[in-house]
């Protein structure tokens, strides 16, 4: 049976027509290619008039297949599928040919681009003839959502959804929610007290009837797909019975083992072996750090157990697995700080008074180890001069090529705090000042007025090797003042390194668990960088906050809310469409060899031992097609990407290379190497 194919070649204004002779391509397809009933070119196919053209032809000419040669299917496949649907043609009988991104935009030579466009159109025509009508599938969306990460982005997303009346599971690996924001003293550019604006949100989450808070817990495994994920979570042993603990804090007070707190206090202060990271922690239930607890070390002490008024201490507690079911997942796993030791010429770890920005945040935090007094490592001397070094590990091909985005503003904030709390001079060493958000440039101007000194130059080194008496006992910051064009040395008392914002070390691994990918640097990849910034390529998985790229607090909050809105939309709709691009097994042809069983990473193929055949569980299949190409019997069919369709497409693409006896389309099924 001959199909009636309609071919539509888009000019896209001059975007395509400027480099591809679209009239010629349309004319050629209409005259030379078999089974083409209609072939047109049009200024803008995606316009309503362009779509109408297709619809009218389907109705009036009785087209059975449609090829639209325009932009990427990732942009307008939905548009033209809808048009076909409107005219009563199954949407999966339409094929898009990408002659813009893959052709007119990337080739200089008009003749070559036109020739390539012909081949691509020819490939689509041959393919579309073998396409089959498919029906999309719908599944119910579970109303519960999993939020991973209890920093500001995750908290915002959690509250938005919980307040809308939907159940939320919030998983945080630290003993308390709050994230990095809890460590800061002030926030830029308003200089709000960080704790004052964060802790109300934390306690709201802690008390919310719709929120199940799982702190000190790790994501183990995700299975299922959009609408119906099954998630396994490891609740690490706190060694404190959650429901019995009142959070009185006696155990912490009486614990005799003090250890350096390298997490919340960034190594600037101590905590006990049983601890809550900070006073406003949520939940107010401590954990025992078994690495430093005397009982776990040498079976002595148990002071906390003896003194606990509610007998909540349980040394024998073990990790517990929790299984939950959710419809959507929001990843808000945040960021990690660059290890400034990787740049030895800045002296961190060797020169005492070189600090990381997180250390300094704790140093000037009123609730920090010095109660907010800015002093050198000796604990008493106030610095007379402070240097702030920008771009430590960012904008650097040797470490992270990207700009960390927030450090310029953070250094202005830190500079302000030094000027406010001490008599010190403050120098800021920058490459470019980046203050491009609302009220940020104004904050820069404020610091200029406050007397912070700005030197344009990336710091070459920080050293204690004095060259003259005035440098003795100082840290010398050496750089080129590029605006003056001279090398300069600045003797100071304290140096703050603005380390890069990096992805969490296990971001890639976490992404893999949820089936989402990372950029080369390790940031989660959004579905579209401009138009779909919080969705991912995996339906039902969203990203928010700094795990998607360096971000400050306002941007993280906005993304948290945006992700929640997307999820709320899914829940409200109640059902989600799943592309019918799945594999299926012809049981007649299946020999029961089970090769395909192990190939599927989603365990979507099960083996029926009785019937001795394998079967695809359609709901689990994601349609990659690996099993299709592996089946030795050729018994697996990949819907919309069948062997027959792809063979025809290859043949069409090479219409000008292959000289068949009777024209391009006749041999499509009788090719020398074909699947049985």
């Amino acid at each position: 049976m001959a199909e009636k194919v309609g071919v539509y070649v888009c000019h896209c204004g001059s975007n395509i027509a400027g480099k591809v002779d679209v009239e010629d391509v349309a004319k050629w397809a209409g005259e030379k290619v078999k089974d083409v009933a209609v072939s047109r070119d049009y200024k803008f196919m995606c316009s309503s008039l362009g779509q109408k053209l297709v619809e009218d032809d389907i109705r009036e000419q009785g087209l059975t297949r449609v090829v639209v040669a325009a932009c990427s299917p990732h942009l307008h496949e939905k548009t033209f599928r809808r048009a076909c649907s409107n005219a009563g043609l199954n949407p999966y009988l339409m094929e898009m040919t990408n002659i813009r991104e893959h052709c007119s935009w990337v080739h200089k030579d008009r003749a070559a681009a036109t020739e390539k466009a012909r081949s691509l159109v020819s490939a689509s025509i041959e393919r579309v003839k073998f396409q089959e009508p498919l029906e999309p599938m719908f599944v119910d969306v579970n109303r519960a959502t999993l939020v991973i990460g209890g920093g500001i982005a995750g908290l915002q997303a959690t509250l938005e959804l919980a307040d809308a009346g939907y159940p939320v599971y919030l998983v945080e690996r630290q003993p308390s929610i709050g994230g990095h924001m809890a460590q800061f003293d002030k926030t830029f550019p308003t200089l709000d007290c960080s704790a004052c604006i964060l802790t109300p949100k934390m306690s709201e989450v802690g008390q919310h009837e719709n929120v199940t808070l799982l702190t000190y817990a790790e994501l183990e495994e995700v299975s299922g797909s959009v609408g119906n994920f099954k998630v396994r979570i490891r609740q690490k042993a706190r060694h404190v019975v959650f429901d019995d603990c009142t959070g009185c804090g006696i155990c912490v007070e009486k614990c005799p083992r003090k250890v350096l707190d390298t997490e919340f206090e960034a190594g600037m202060g101590n905590r006990k072996a049983i601890y809550m990271p900070f006073p406003q922690a949520v939940p107010r239930v401590p954990v025992i750090d078994t690495e430093s607890c005397i009982w776990f070390e040498r079976q002595k002490c148990r002071a906390c157990e003896k003194l606990c008024p509610t007998n909540a201490i349980d040394f024998d507690q073990e990790d517990e697995m929790i299984e939950i079911e959710v419809g959507n997942i929001i990843m808000a796993t945040g960021w990690d700080a660059f290890d400034t030791r990787k740049i030895p010429q800045y002296g961190y770890g060797r020169l005492a008074n070189v600090y990381t920005s997180l250390e300094f945040e704790r140093l000037c935090n009123a609730a920090g180890p010095t109660n907010g007094k800015i002093v050198l490592r000796d604990g008493k001397t106030e610095p007379k001069s402070v240097a702030i070094v920008h771009c430590v590990g960012s904008r650097d091909e040797r470490h992270n090529p990207y700009c960390s985005g927030i450090c310029c503003m953070a250094s202005l904030k830190l500079g302000h705090l030094v000027l406010e709390k001490t008599d010190a001079e403050v120098y800021s060493f920058y490459i470019d000042m980046r203050t491009n958000q609302k009220n940020y440039e104004e904050f820069y101007q404020r610091l200029l007025g406050e007397g912070m000194r700005f030197v344009r130059g990336k710091v070459a080194e920080v050293t204690d090797a004095a060259r003259k008496p005035s440098e003795q006992g100082k840290l010398i910051v050496q750089c080129e003042d590029t605006l003056v064009g001279r090398q300069q040395r600045f003797p100071v008392d304290m140096v703050i390194l603005m380390g890069a914002i990096e992805p969490q070390v296990d971001a890639r691994e976490m992404g893999l668990k949820c089936g989402i990918s990372c950029s080369m640097e390790g940031w989660y990849t959004e579905r579209h960088p401009k138009l779909d910034p919080v969705a991912t390529m995996t339906d039902g998985i969203f990203v928010a906050g700094a795990c998607q790229g360096p971000k400050d607090i306002p941007a993280s909050v906005a993304q948290g809310a945006a992700a929640a809105a997307r999820v709320a939309g899914m829940i409200t709709k109640g059902k989600v469409m799943i592309e019918p691009i799945v594999a299926s097994i012809d049981e007649e042809g299946c020999s029961g060899c089970r090769i395909c069983n192990n190939l599927c990473p989603y365990n979507a193929i099960e083996y029926d031992a009785e019937a001795k055949v394998s079967r695809v569980i359609t709901a689990l299949c994601k349609g990659c097609g690996t099993c299709v190409s592996a089946c030795p019997a050729g018994a697996i069919r990949g819907a919309h990407f069948s062997d027959r369709q792809i063979f025809a497409e290859i043949q069409g693409a090479l219409w000008d290379a292959w000289q068949p006896r009777g024209g391009a389309s006749e041999e499509a099924e009788a090719v020398p190497v074909s699947a049985p």
Binding site: H107, C391, R395, K458, A460
Partner: protein, 190 residues
């Protein structure tokens, strides 16, 4: 067809420097951060810092760069190269500028080309270099006063047996010369 390169609007000087420097294409990625100028042990003595030189190359200020002392103050310590956040081979660019400066007769303010020439002349004659030959010839012709000042040191070195008066000559010096001549001839073709 190759990827589109925006070479058309690059200055002549920039194109020349890129052509004469291995991996020189990186130069266009300069952020003008100054970590080279800040790191250079001799940076304070230079007419222009390496960063400024890169900006001047892009701006086609050939005469000012090639007559400057910047590249001749370079001691090949590679701090700039190893610290450059953009992987620009700055030390190699300095070598390229030295070569261009000599080739175009712009190296006037420094004795470095003379030292280099003395050194390589000896290598071509004997196949090996030796300090006494270099020091005596170079200083005699170029810095007679300095020769007197450092003669005390030279004498101590001699007394310690550290100054050879005669060079070692390699056996296949003719082979070496054939290689050098061929290389010199091939480099003329550019």
């Amino acid at each position: 067809m190759v990827a589109d390169t925006p070479s058309d609007n690059r200055s002549k000087f920039l194109r020349d420097v890129i052509a004469d420097t291995p991996e020189g294409e990186r130069i266009v990625h300069c952020l003008q951060c100054g970590s080279c100028g800040g790191s250079c042990p001799n940076g304070a003595e230079m007419n222009y810092t390496p960063r400024a030189v890169i900006a001047m190359i892009a701006a086609d200020r050939r005469e000012e760069v090639l007559t400057s002392n910047t590249m001749w103050q370079c001691v090949s310590c590679y701090f700039c190269t190893s610290r450059c956040p953009q992987d620009i081979p700055i030390t190699e660019i300095m070598y390229a500028l030295k070569r261009m400066s000599i080739r175009e007769g712009k190296a006037r303010k420094t004795d470095a080309p003379a030292l280099a020439k003395t050194f390589t002349d000896l290598v071509e004659k004997y196949g090996r270099s030796f300090e006494f030959g270099i020091a005596s010839r170079y200083l005699l012709f170029n810095r007679p006063m300095s020769m007197l000042k450092s003669s005390g040191m030279g004498m101590s070195m001699f007394a310690k047996g550290r100054l050879a008066l005669t060079p070692t000559r390699i056996r296949q010096v003719k082979q070496l010369r054939a290689i050098i001549n061929k290389a010199r001839e091939l480099s003329q073709h550019d």
